[in-house]
Amino acid sequence: MAKRDLLSIDDLTRAEAELVLDTAESFLPVLQRDIKKVPTLRGRTIINMFYESSTRTLTSFELAAKRLSADTMNVRASGSAVDKGESLKDTILTLSAYQPDIIVMRHPQIGACRLASRYTTASVINAGDGKFQHPSQALLDLFTMRQALGKALDGLKVWIVGDILHSRVARSDIAAFQLLGMDVTVAGPPPLIPRDVETLGVSVEHDLDRLKEADVVYLLRMQMERMQEGANFIPSLREYSALYGMTLERLRPGQKVMHPGPINRGIEISSAIADHPDTLILEQVESGLAVRMAILYRTIVGYDERSASERGAA
């Protein structure tokens, strides 16, 4: 069987994405037990290669692998051979000598995961590559939506608000939400909306006048670290907040609010919204573990059967 990567949401069919979500759901009871571990991936090797800072993604991939009884190793750019000038290709070749089953990779540069995949027999899972993709985030977002709103996501209206230009989460979510039949609008300051983004099948708004039509409002933070000095994407965070910051007044009761974190209270989200019961931010974090278990599991056993053994595994 050819190895199966997860580099982008586009690598998945709708049925496969739904299978991941169903699998994640089947793992939920495991996470409620006293002994939160199953032997499913015992003897498998998973390497987490993180070339960019991460808290929630790394910990949740690591814990997901451990819950499935896989052997895990974490490699970071600093303190590794990368510091000594080793190329990505050579690092991948070196680590591949250990015959890992999966390499989970985060990298600041777009294309790094694809390059890695070329030089390893391990399956590569993209845990975020620059501004391009973060598919496990999109899948956990879908999972969170299903948990909160029911399985039928078709026709739901989702507004993604904020810095779309620099966001791999937005790029993954647009594809994932559309894959499950949702209607996506992106909103933000014009300089932070990619040109021609409507060709991705989304609507574009520069104000929030029609925000109340949304079932789900997905907030993104300003990625100041990706904005060059003097690039002038916005005049100030203050004006950004005045125009796009999410407050109780801008929302109607029942609208769900999501955010991939980390959140910046008082900028893209008011504290009242961050702590509101309709806000699913903590649910997203919780979903991360089960969904990443499902991704690791599906990457190894494949997406083509929903066998009894799989049920048994959970």
Binding site: P190, P235, S236, A242
Partner: protein, 439 residues
């Protein structure tokens, strides 16, 4: 819609103007009739209007009654250089020129780059301005060409548009960002197009006159090259731009092409560029030193033709007051700019309409209604029910432009000593009598 102009209050005028020739292109009106203004509103138009006996009658025979003028481009020097002009003197000059609204540029000290500065000015205009006055905010903070201003908040506070006028936007990227970001408002970006490197240390139009005088030239391409670049960016971003003080025929070629391509661009031209040429610089009189400079006769003719055709949308004065000590120096050392509010109509009437190069109706449209539409204020029009925004002009009156009689605090007029025809006798702005000239 939030306010875009502010002026001091006062009672609406009550008067009837009898027998003036009323010319209003928007109302498709060109007829001799009476106009009755009651409590600041135009109550009736017609022949032999019956009005209450107590109503003051103004004899309009031999006069034009026109929709008042709107100036998109004035420098009222407030805050910071109130020695050169302030809201009182600037609006007095405007009223004397027949203006019923004007917009002041942001290159003040401090720069109009934040809502508190703008709100402070709006408040002052509400107390001091006789003629409704609005303000541009700058595109970049402190006009430094680096960081965008908070355009949304500034638009909410009433900025008519955004401009770093006095300076070009240094990079196409800054313009691009401004045109992208300004879409969070319904405003526009007004450009002082100028390639600084091509401008160099130039002080006058580059041509035969500069060759003879030895003055460093400002080539026409210093403007047209920057315009071409700006229009490319505006086209790509579908941004709304306004070209300030267009001066050269080369620029018009780019403007015409952009129009054909559907670019959202408007343009203004000054009275001095429409009526004077670089030949005036032979005098070495600093009063004719402007930026952009007076250009060749062929440019002047092309500008007039473009104003007539509508390629250029409107007339704007670029009223630029300067202290005497900034102009009473050798030509090369003098500040750029001329005042223009008090002479705009008369200079164009004398040199363009009387010379049969432009019809009166077109001139009125280009000075009144077209700039009002660009600014997003209600265009002045002489129709029943409208607020009275009109000027009455003695069209036979010939007068010599005399520094001692100007209302502006500054006297740096390019027309000093010139004889012009057509003199404003009365101006009603926002329904109030704001100017009345002597006999």
């Amino acid at each position: 819609m939030s306010a875009r102009v502010w002026s001091k209050g006062g009672a609406g005028a009550d008067l009837v103007v009898r027998g003036a020739r009323v010319v209003d292109p928007q109302a498709r009106l060109d007829a001799v009739c009476d106009v009755f203004v009651k409590r600041g509103k135009i109550a009736a138009l017609g022949e032999d209007l019956e009005v209450p006996q107590s109503t003051r009658t103004v004899d309009g025979a031999g006069h034009l009654l026109l929709p008042g003028f709107v100036d998109l481009h004035a420098h009222l020097r407030t805050p910071g250089r109130e020695d050169e002009e302030d809201l009182v003197s600037g609006t007095a000059a405007a009223a004397a020129g027949g203006y019923v609204a004007l917009f002041s540029m942001a290159n003040t000290d401090p720069v109009i780059d934040s809502a508190p500065v703008l709100e402070g000015l709006a408040q002052r205009a509400g107390a001091e301005a006789s003629v409704p006055t609005g303000f541009f905010a700058s595109v970049s903070r402190d006009l430094a060409g680096k960081q965008l201003t908070e355009m949304h908040e500034l638009a909410q506070a009433g900025a008519v548009g955004f401009s770093d006028d006095g300076k070009p936007l240094a990079t196409a990227q800054l313009l691009r960002r401004a045109l992208q970001y300004v879409k969070v408002t319904d405003r526009f970006v007004a450009l002082h197009a100028q390639d600084d490197a091509l401008m160099g240390a130039g002080v006058m139009h580059e041509g035969p006159v500069s060759a003879k005088l030895g003055l460093t030239g400002i080539p026409a391409i210093a403007e047209s090259a920057d315009v071409a670049r700006a229009l490319e960016v505006a086209r790509y971003e579908d941004g709304r731009v306004h070209l300030c003080h267009v001066s050269s025929a080369l620029t018009l070629e780019h403007l015409a092409r952009a129009r054909e391509l559907g670019v959202r661009v408007t343009a203004e031209v000054t009275p001095h560029h429409l009526t004077m040429t670089d030949e005036a610089v032979y005098s070495l009189d600093s009063g004719v030193k402007m930026n952009p400079p007076l250009r060749a006769e062929s440019d002047r003719k092309a500008l007039l033709a473009a104003l007539k055709s509508g390629l250029i949308d409107c007339v704007a004065t670029d009223h630029a007051p300067h202290a005497q000590q900034e102009k009473e120096v050798p030509f090369e050392a003098a500040a750029f700019g001329t005042i223009g509010l008090e002479t705009a109509f008369a200079s164009l009437y004398t040199r363009a309409v009387m010379a049969r190069k432009l019809s009166l109706a077109v001139l009125v449209e280009r000075m009144s209604q077209a700039p009002a539409r660009i600014a997003g204020i209600t265009p002045p029009t002489i129709a029943a029910g409208e607020t009275a925004n009109v000027c009455l002009i003695d069209i036979e009156a010939r007068w010599v432009v005399d520094a001692a009689q100007l209302r502006s605090k500054s006297t740096n007029s390019a027309w000093l000593g010139e004889t012009l025809q057509g003199r404003v006798k009365l101006t009603l702005a926002g329904g109030r009598l704001v100017f009345e000239g002597g006999a």
